[in-house]
Each structure stands twice: as C-alpha cells, then as structure tokens.
C-alpha cells in the first residue's frame, strides 16, 4: 500500500513467475508501462513485496528446482540485489517431532508500521518466520512451528497443495502489532493476539469437503485471507469451500459466496479488498467441480465484485476473451493499486498480465508471453 506520508511515489507491478521476476513500471497515468526483467531468470519466484513503510526495501522469495530457497533483497528496485545472510530455515528437532527443511518461502508480509524492519514469512512445509532487520536474517517465530497440534493440522506433502502445504496470508492488524491472522493450506485459519505466544483457531462457520469433520482444522483450506485497511475488524476469505466474511469481534465466518451465480460457484484462489471501502471486494472464480481443473468456469474468465459486503456479486469480464480461455489465477496473483479510481491487476498461469484502471469494469492485457505468473503486487516505490 502507499504510504500517505511519504514523498513522491511511483506505481510498480511486481510480477513473480515460475521462471523469474519482472517489474512493470507505470510510465504515466497507468496508460504506458515499461517491462523490466527478467531478474533471476530460471528461479521459481513465489512472492515479491516492497516495504510500504520505506518505499525502498524489496524482498523476493525465490528458489530454483535444484538449489535451496533464499530471500533476495534490493533497495533500488532491482538495480542491485543482495541475498539474505540467513534465509528462513527450521531449527533442530524438538518436542519429539521430526526435523524439517524449508522447501520454499511462499509468502512475505511487512510487519506493523510501528516496527520498521520487521517482516514475516510463511513457508512450505508450513512454518512462520520473522526478520527484524529488513529481511537480511530470519528466524523461526512464534510457538506455531513446533507445536504438536499445528504439526498435525499442517499435514504432509501428500495432504497439501501440489507443490507442498503452505502457510500464507499473514495479516498484521494495523491497529495492533501483536494481533496476526494467518492461513494454512491446509490447516485452517489461526490468530495470535499476544505476538505469537499463543494461537486461537478461527474456523467456525467454514465448510469443508463433504464427509469430513468441520471442527477439525486439518480439513480446512483457506486459499486467501484479506483484512480491510479501512475497517481492520473485517476479514474476507476465499476458501477451498466458498467465499466468506468475518466481522470481529464475531468469530463465525459467513459464507457470502452463496450469492454468487450457481453456474459459476464460489471457488477460487485470489481475493482483493478495496483499500478505502470495506464493502467492496473482488474474486476470480475457478472451476472447482469434478477433478478440479482450477480454470476459469466454462473457459470464460471473469472477475466478480461485491459492493455490499457480499450480499450480491456482479460479473466483470469486458476485455477478457469471451471463450476458450482456461486461465488459472493463483491466490497471490490478483491485486489492487491505491489510485482514486482503483486499478486492478491479475496474472495467470499462461503468462499474461491483465489490468483494469476502472475498478474492473474494463480489462486489457498489459504483458504476455511471460512464464507462469505466481504473484502480482501493486506497490509504490519512493522516487
């Protein structure tokens, strides 16, 4: 998000792909873009995030198919890179639990505005890590990684997403740095209110696949959690089993995806919230029927927007292919900028980046022929 107290800023899209990182620079009014890259060609880039607190520190979670994972860091928008001196790595075996090794860092989250230099990272296998020096060194954080219950809920590679279970959606409450909500695929939604000493499970009201026990965290698969900047007590969630909203202090999620068109359903990966209006959110549905192709339903890509907190949804597909477009948009691959008329951006596994400068009413392709896109972030770099 842009820092309203900062000086001049420039909009940049960070496009993380399965074969490297690209930066798309706004060259003026979101009508002209300059593509910069590849950075780290051949690296699997899971996430790239610019620190909104300083507008300079850019962290990239990367690995290759043959080397261990690392975090790469730049303070000049990729002109120069430095590797983390100590990337996220698990500790030795404790509590009688097997020792683990980080396969890749999946999610990066800047810490609270009052804690400059603090970052959080979620990994696969599922772990939670923290840096206090702007991403240069990382350490396992909180009671979560080696808690026997959490280890059970996390499952194994055989239980999780195709390239491993993931800890993601690390939401630091803007009103309280000790309050963090996170998602585990699988393993449910959890929150800490005491800076990671203890966690409470937040799965009440969430559906699970038919035949499984909804009270058991391990059967829950939150795909993407978002907290509304304009109303931090409101959370949205795109889950394996529907779209939900939670207004704290309530603890029961409401399935707002029931209002989606039945022929489209309410399964998907990403969810985007409006930075200034907590009633507005977008999803990008996928086909979750049969063997779960995870492509746009019917081969017709479309975003859906709610402007009333999920009571109703409207289709937004102008500009997208009208047929035979079998896109997969992953949970980190759809985002919004913070302009007065909001811009939306998404990338799909076919290597195209699309954008809208009118809050989803019209879409256009901004870049194509990229590798499979895994994450897109709209950030504001200090200039």
């Amino acid at each position: 998000m842009a820092n309203p107290n900062a000086g001049p800023q420039r909009l940049v899209l960070l496009v993380a792909t399965r074969k490297g990182l690209w930066l798309l620079h706004d060259e003026g009014g979101r009508t002209a873009w300059r593509l910069d890259g590849p950075h780290f060609l051949g690296h699997i880039v899971h996430h790239a995030v610019l620190d909104p607190r300083d507008g300079h520190t850019l962290l990239v979670a990367a690995r290759t198919g043959h080397l261990g994972p690392t975090i790469l860091r730049s303070t000049d928008l990729g002109a120069h890179w430095q590797e983390a001196a100590r990337p996220p790595a698990f500790g030795p075996a404790v509590n009688g639990l097997p020792a683990r090794t980080v396969d890749h860092t999946f999610w990066l989250a800047p810490g609270h505005a009052s804690q400059p230099g603090v970052w959080y990272a979620g990994t696969s296998p599922q772990g939670l890590f923290r840096s206090e020096d702007g991403g240069q060194t990382w350490a396992p954080w909180s009671s979560l990684n080696d808690d026997p219950d959490f280890r059970t809920w996390m499952g194994t590679v055989q239980d999780g997403t195709p390239d491993g279970p993931k800890l993601h959606s690390i939401l630091v409450d803007p009103d309280d740095p000790q309050h963090i909500v996170l998602g585990m695929s699988g393993g449910g939604v959890h929150e800490t209110r005491d800076g990671g000493h203890t966690f409470q499970t937040l799965i009440d009201g969430l559906d699970v696949v038919e035949g499984f026990e909804p009270g058991e965290p391990t059967f829950h698969d939150p795909h993407c959690l978002r907290q509304c900047p304009s109303r931090p007590t409101r959370l949205y969630q795109q889950n394996h089993c529907g779209i939900y909203r939670l207004d704290r202090p309530a603890t029961r999620w409401e399935r707002i995806g029931r209002a989606m068109p039945p022929e489209v359903g309410d399964v998907g990966f990403p969810l985007v919230v409006h930075p200034r209006d907590a009633d507005v959110a977008w999803v990008f549905p996928m086909d979750g029927t049969d063997v779960w192709p995870r492509t746009s339903p019917g081969g017709r890509p479309a975003a859906y927007v709610t402007r009333d907190g999920g009571l109703s949804w409207s289709r937004q597909a102008a500009g997208f292919p009208a047929e035979q477009a079998w896109w997969t948009v992953k949970r980190q691959a759809m985002t919004a900028d913070r302009e007065a008329t909001l811009g939306l951006y998404l990338g799909h596994s076919g290597g195209e980046l699309w954008g809208s400068v009118d809050e989803g009413d019209h879409w256009q392709c901004l870049a194509r022929h990229l590798p499979a896109i895994q994450a897109v972030e709209a950030v504001y770099a200090a200039v």
Partner: protein, 85 residues
C-alpha cells in the same frame, strides 16, 4: 584446494574454479560460505543434508557425507543434477 562450482552457483563466485580450505567436505563448504555468503544453504539444508540435486565428487569419486576427509591435493567437484522443465 580447488573447487569446481556448478553454473547455477557461479552467481556467488563469479568463477567456475575457486580456492577453499578444509580437511573435510563440510569444512570446505563452510569455507566457501565464508567467502561467498549464502552459497552453502543452496547446497545443504538446515538439517545438514546435501540437497537432492547436488552431487559432490572428490577427484572422480562421489562422496555422500560432509565428514568425508580431504587431502590438500584433492579437488572437489560440485555438480548440479538437472531435471524438470
């Protein structure tokens, strides 16, 4: 001793052949990490296991343990087994 670095790790060393010291494979990798911070973790995980696609050869013989002894005249070849798409 001389150490051959695979292409995927030459972004650290800027060279295919480098010099490192140690009386075991593990010590040589530790010395490499001192010279080129971060390079060891790309090859060896946090539990001390050589990562799946990394192969280590002393002269022409493959070694599997980090405590494998080395003589000053040995050469260590680090090889990356490529696969996938």
């Amino acid at each position: 001793m001389r150490v051959l670095i695979p292409s995927a790790l030459q972004s650290y060393t800027q060279a295919a052949w480098v010099e490192a010291e140690g009386t075991t494979v593990g010590e040589v990798l530790a010395d490499l990490d001192r010279q080129y911070p971060g390079i060891r973790f790309r090859m060896v995980d946090e539990q001390g296991a050589v990562r799946p696609h990394i192969r280590l050869f002393v002269n022409s013989a493959q070694v599997f343990r980090l405590d494998a002894p080395l003589a000053a005249t040995d050469r260590l070849h680090i090889v990356q087994a490529l696969s996938g798409g």
